[in-house]
Amino acid sequence: MKFLVCISNVPDTTTKITFTPDNKEFNKAGVQFVINPWDEYALTRAIELKEAAGSGTVTVLNVGEADTEPNIRKALAIGADDAIRVNAAPTDAYFVAEQIAAIAKEGAYDVILMGKESIDYNGFQVHGMVGEMLGVPTVAPAMKLDMSGNTATLEREIEGGKEIVSVNTPFVASCQQPMCEPRIPNMRGIMTARTKPLKVVPAVGEPARTQVQEYALPPKKQGVKLIDAENAGELIKLLRNEAKVI
């Protein structure tokens, strides 16, 4: 089984988001980038399934510029076998999906795993696009993934419940908790990651279909109005008469 795990390179979850003075770009200064937290589920599950089968390969793929390589190496340290970086700024989901689809097709990958969504841009769409481009099913977001031969059984989260879905390879799935316990690199992994192959390839396909014009931060809160705990019922009156939300 050939697994392709797609990882995006995102600001650490504790990052205070700021923009350049013209509000046209995200201000990367001083920001620590990490593997998108959802993608860690995809990566770990691929490694687990490969181990359980006793054969197969796990390739990680990132569409990004050279500054994403530390996180690609981290994915190799966690246990991926090799990596591909498409050397281009990931300008929108469609552009990224085209790159992933081209590589998935060329490498004849059986299982293409992603995270539920990229926490920087929150598109929740690359997986569906890639499935459509390849003409294969996408299961998103998946909470559980088991394989038996070429057939996968997945639990897909829906509003208010879940669906049990069964698909044959090749397919795309996007992963989220509680699929597995994401692994962290160990010392041996870090050592071997240095020499694992990381191939850099140029971008293909058409340009992006969306362009960010401007960013904005949410409006600041006015400040909190404190109500005495002894008089907690007063809060309910305020919620009805002042805030008008109940």
Partner: protein, 325 residues
């Protein structure tokens, strides 16, 4: 040219988020000088589809194929693509739900459209450009995005726009068939398991949410959260550590790595207000924080706060709501 709106139904009812989407689509149609047609998916009831006129929809297409009752990605995509071609839709509007996003992303490739998800406002269409505002960086920011394709698909974030109600207006319901075949249902779910809701409110659709954190001390105390939620008609939610240790199911986990909610009212009980938690809730219209620590960071993001013990405060709030009703 028209606007096509995808309306999700369940148990005969149009979902609340789809009423918002219908209203959004009708307003976009008005901006563009055209009309809005809806395509209904899921288990629909004709009388409720007729009522979509109140949101400004003129015509509703409905394919009564029974296998469309449950979500099937390929079948839904083909159904909506066929409707979009028939209606020559330039703009397709759907909910930013698990169904809407799954279908929207496939449609964007099939119809060569620009797609924006997580959209929070009506588009700006002056000056020949089509610009939408969407949430980014997990609720920490917004971005204005130009949709440069000839066709556009917009997935509207739940509870971020208000559904208009023009009482008494009706829509014409037209039967419609996308000529779906067995092959289109190949990825149909084997089984659908719904949570036991027992009169509860679904978190992603909720207008009010009562949420508990580690300060609740243990799952045995969740009755306090549930009582207040019930009195308010609210859904229940929790912080990540709470679902990590299985005090609550993980689908209640809100935040940067959980679900993002934007209810009218979010009540946080015994939650410290870590940046990853705030990211998932800070677009709530009114935030109430109950925490015994006056220095808890959540107070900085709150509109109302009570510095106190949840075990003392929650029963008082529940009683006060009951007294009000």
């Amino acid at each position: 040219m028209s606007v096509l709106v995808v309306v999700e139904c369940a148990d005969g009812e149009v979902k609340k988020s789809s009423l918002e989407v219908a209203s959004y689509g009708a307003q976009v149609a008005a901006q563009l000088g055209t009309t809005a047609t809806a395509i209904a998916v899921g288990e629909a009831n004709e009388a409720n589809l007729v009522k979509l006129g109140e949101q400004g929809i003129t015509k509703v297409l409905y394919d009564a194929e029974p296998r469309l009752k449950d979500f099937v990605n390929n079948a839904y995509t083909k159904l909506i693509a066929t409707a979009a071609e028939q209606e020559q839709a330039k703009v397709i509007v759907l909910a930013n739900s698990n169904i809407g996003a799954a279908v929207g992303s496939r449609l964007s490739v099939r119809l060569k459209a620009s797609l924006a998800t997580n959209v929070v406002e009506l588009p700006k269409t002056d000056g020949g450009q089509f610009v939408v505002k969407r949430g980014a960086f997990s609720g920490k920011a917004f971005s204005d995005v130009v949709l440069s394709g000839d066709r556009k698909i917009i997935a509207v974030k739940k509870n971020s726009t208000e559904a208009q109600h023009d009482a008494g207006k009706t829509a014409e319901v037209a039967s419609f068939s996308a000529q779906l075949s067995d092959a289109d249902f190949a990825d149909a779910p084997k089984q659908v398991v719904m949570q036991d809701q027992a009169g509860g409110v679904l978190l992603p659709e909720a207008e009010r949410v009562v949420s508990g954190g580690r300060g609740m001390k243990g799952p045995e105390n969740w009755g306090l959260i549930e009582d207040l939620a019930k009195a308010l008609g609210a859904a229940t939610a929790c912080s990540k550590p709470v679902s990590d240790v299985d005090w609550r199911p993980h689908h209640e986990h809100v935040g940067q790595t959980g679900i993002t909610v934007s209810p009218n009212l979010y009540i946080a009980c015994g939650i410290s207000g870590a940046i990853q938690h705030l990211a998932g809730v800070n677009s709530s219209k009114v935030i109430v924080v109950i925490n015994k620590d006056p220095e808890a960071p959540f107070f900085k993001a709150a509109d109302y706060g009570i510095v106190g013990d949840v075990f003392d405060v929650l029963p008082k709030l529940t009683a006060a709501v009951k007294a009000l009703n």
